[in-house]
């Protein structure tokens, strides 16, 4: 019987699932995913977590419990310290396996891998080799699996840049035409279509339950979306030039870089920031983005998600935001209040 390894469908699942699943499957294990996020998972997560933890981590705890119920042999929870030189991920990622161990006693053993590319790039293959040895004695098999995993991860990144959703790429459903309109956006063709930047972390942008299906909702409203995951390294770096101090969080770099790039190039008519309540890095990053947009007079909506967010409220806010953007475009005037400011115009439109 093959060893069953459970991977929670949360947090960095939306970034690195393909890397790990290819690697582990090649070594002859069976990957078991937790269900899509649902009410029960969120409820279980909230119940077991410390109250002030952010929603994504609570959701993660729920997914781990779901896997525990599925009788997997191991649960795969890598400890991400850093995925690129000089930058960290959030401290909660660093302590995640330990938090899980202490908050959820009695779950199947955790497969612990450490990802720390802060100082050296070679750390990952070494660590993956260590992981691979648990399942096979053949170093060539591990090497092959590693190569394939890296290739898949690369092509995954390319697909995401083009605007495919991670889950569609994972399960080869790219023909489902769920791609967001990256190319259209780039060419600035349809002048009469509203374009919006969706800025946030991958696990908030792509988890339909957590963000209340905001991608679909916006698309139904006839809006073209570009997410902060759809920017190349070069674009993000050009956005980062506005900052005086290099940012030391990888996700922070992506969000602020893409937001500033959009601001500079004026590709979109406005942006929506998706933040989970009590997210440490975002409390600062999103404030910086918000201030920059406010100064430039570009509309920016901040949606804060937590376990109490209700769909109705979110829809109302989205609709209002879109209506106002449309109104602003039609009038072609700057009557629009960017955020938190009174509308300042010589004659009131009302």
């Amino acid at each position: 019987m093959r060893i069953k390894i459970g991977i929670p469908r949360a947090l960095l699942y939306y970034d690195y699932f393909l890397l790990w699943s290819t690697f582990l499957e090649r070594l002859g294990t069976e990957i078991v995913l937790s269900q899509k996020t649902n009410k029960e998972i969120v409820y279980n997560g909230i119940k077991s977590a410390i109250e002030e933890t952010c929603l994504p981590v609570k959701v993660f705890l729920g997914h781990v419990q779901d896997l525990a119920r599925k009788k997997v042999d191991y649960i795969f929870i890598p400890r991400y310290i850093s995925v690129e030189p000089r930058r960290f991920l959030c401290p909660k990622f660093m302590g995640l396996p330990y938090m899980i161990k202490h908050l959820l006693p009695g779950i199947p053993p955790v497969l612990n891998v450490e990802v720390d590319l802060r100082k050296r790039e070679r750390q990952l293959p070494v660590e993956m080799y260590r992981l691979g040895k648990l399942f096979t004695f053949n170093p060539w098999k591990i090497r092959l699996a590693y190569k394939l995993a890296q290739e898949n991860q690369k092509s995954f990144k390319k697909n995401i840049l083009q605007g495919f959703l991670p889950e569609n790429v994972y399960f080869n459903e790219t023909e489902k035409n769920k791609a967001l309109k990256r190319t259209v956006l780039k060419n600035n063709q349809h002048k009469n279509v509203l374009r919006i930047g969706l800025i946030g972390h991958s696990y908030n942008l792509y988890d339909e339950y957590v963000n209340m299906n905001i991608l679909n909702k916006l698309q139904e409203m006839g809006v073209e979306i570009i997410t902060s995951k759809m920017f190349s390294e070069a674009e993000i770096n050009s956005g980062l030039k506005r900052l005086r101090k290099d940012i030391f969080w990888t996700f922070g770099k992506e969000t602020i870089g893409s937001a500033f790039y959009l601001l500079e190039e004026r590709i979109t008519h406005g942006i929506i920031l998706i933040v989970s309540f009590a997210c440490g890095p975002d409390s600062i990053i999103m404030d910086l983005i918000d201030r920059a947009y406010k100064r430039a007079g570009v509309p920016c909506l901040t949606l804060v998600l937590d376990e109490h967010s209700a769909e109705g409220g979110v829809i109302t806010r989205l609709e209002a935001f879109i209506e106002m953007l449309k109104w602003k475009e039609q009038k072609n005037e700057s009557y629009f209040s960017p955020h938190g400011q009174p509308v300042d115009c010589p004659e009131s439109p009302f």
Binding site: I50, E52, T53, F88, G95, F277, C279, G280, I284, D287
Partner: protein
């Protein structure tokens, strides 16, 4: 330059002395009050942690009093503190203040940049003057920490007297200008404080409670609602797990004794948390284990609401508590924390520990 800086416990005394020695005019922000926190909470990001909000409040009040230059520490992550100064600058800019900000980021191998950042603070002083200023500051920090440690020991015997004596000493240190005077003031105050412990009742074995957690919350008495003083008033001997001088020994001077101590707490934390999680999360877990082994009666874990490293520690501390039968009280504080609620919790905690001690004795 008219310099101001954020508050953090007694550190303002040392910083004031430093900048005055370097020939700046120093305008320390008024002590942290309700108003400071309200100002900070109004203008700082909604779910930023409390230290950031207090900083913003300090800066606003400092600038209102006429300061022109803000000096702020930076950092290299992953705790938010490293990016504080950047967002604080933008907040104050949006509020329309005119000011310079000098951000002292750790060198991270780039010493030329580091020295360039520091240059305006040097104010053209010669190396010897800078050295003298720095050593004076170091002595002040050490003296303040020493006095505070003594205060925590003796305050249970004569609460009001000890605090009066301590406050007098701190006030005197605020005004000293050279090392000789500092030494005299310190030794005098130490002698005075020591008198309190001589009259102690030897049959009384006081409860011992250690405070671990995020350092700003630990050091700034206004934001932790005078936790140490309150506990002292209940007859509890308080142990503060870290002092500014410890931090400097570990992170600036690399004092071997302190480095060894770091190794010891890391080893103690190993079964629970075996990695750095930013800030002082690792310390909180490791030191709690060490205190439990030392048979300390309880641990109070203080953290600002939404603090990332301490949330990791908070998730793990219940296991430490269970394994060592160590009572742990976590106080997550923010601008909404109120004295009465906190007092009730602390009283209940102390009562429970006292009961536990009597039962086991």
């Amino acid at each position: 330059m008219k310099v101001t800086f954020p508050h953090m416990g007694n550190l303002w005394i040392a910083l004031k002395a430093l900048f005055e020695k370097l020939g700046h005019e120093v305008i320390p922000p008024p002590p942290v009050t309700r108003k400071t926190i309200e100002l900070g909470a109004r203008y700082a990001p909604e779910f930023a942690c409390l230290p950031l909000k207090v900083n913003v409040g300090n800066f606003i009040e400092g600038l209102e009093e006429g300061a022109e230059t803000i000096v702020m520490l930076g950092g290299s992550g992953p705790c938010r503190f490293g990016y504080y100064a950047q967002v604080e600058r933008e907040i104050l800019k949006d509020l329309g203040y005119l000011f310079d900000i000098i951000i002292v980021d750790p060198p991270m191998g780039d010493w030329t940049r580091f020295l360039q950042d520091l240059q305006p603070l040097g104010n053209g002083c010669r190396g010897r003057e800078v050295w003298n200023a720095l050593t004076l500051v170091w002595e002040i920090i050490k003296a303040l920490d020493h006095l505070h440690r003594m205060l925590l020991k003796v305050q249970i015997y004569n609460h009001r007297g000890a605090w009066k004596c301590y406050e007098k000493a701190v006030k005197a240190i605020t005004e000293v200008g050279d090392k000789k005077l500092l030494q005299r003031v310190t030794s005098e105050s130490i002698r005075e404080l020591a008198l309190f412990s001589e009259v102690q009742n030897s049959t009384l074995a006081p409860l011992k409670i250690a405070i671990v957690g995020e350092v700003f919350m630990m050091w700034e008495p206004y934001v932790n609602l005078d936790l140490e003083k309150t506990l002292g008033g209940m007859g509890v001997e308080v142990i503060r797990s870290a002092y500014p001088s410890d931090w400097i020994c570990e992170n600036v001077l690399f004092n071997p004794r302190h480095m060894l101590r770091r190794l010891i707490f890391k080893k103690a934390a190993r079964p629970y948390l075996n990695c750095f999680v930013g800030g002082h999360g690792w310390e909180s877990v490791g030191k709690s284990v060490l205190y439990a082994r030392k048979k300390i009666d309880g641990v109070i874990h203080v953290l600002p609401f939404t603090c990332m490293p301490e949330i990791v520690a908070q998730s793990i501390l219940p296991s430490v508590s269970r394994d060592y039968k160590l009572p742990v009280l976590t106080l997550s504080l923010d601008e909404h924390s109120a004295q009465a609620g906190l007092l009730t919790r602390i009283e209940a905690f102390v009562d429970l520990i006292r009961e536990k001690k009597q039962v086991t004795a």
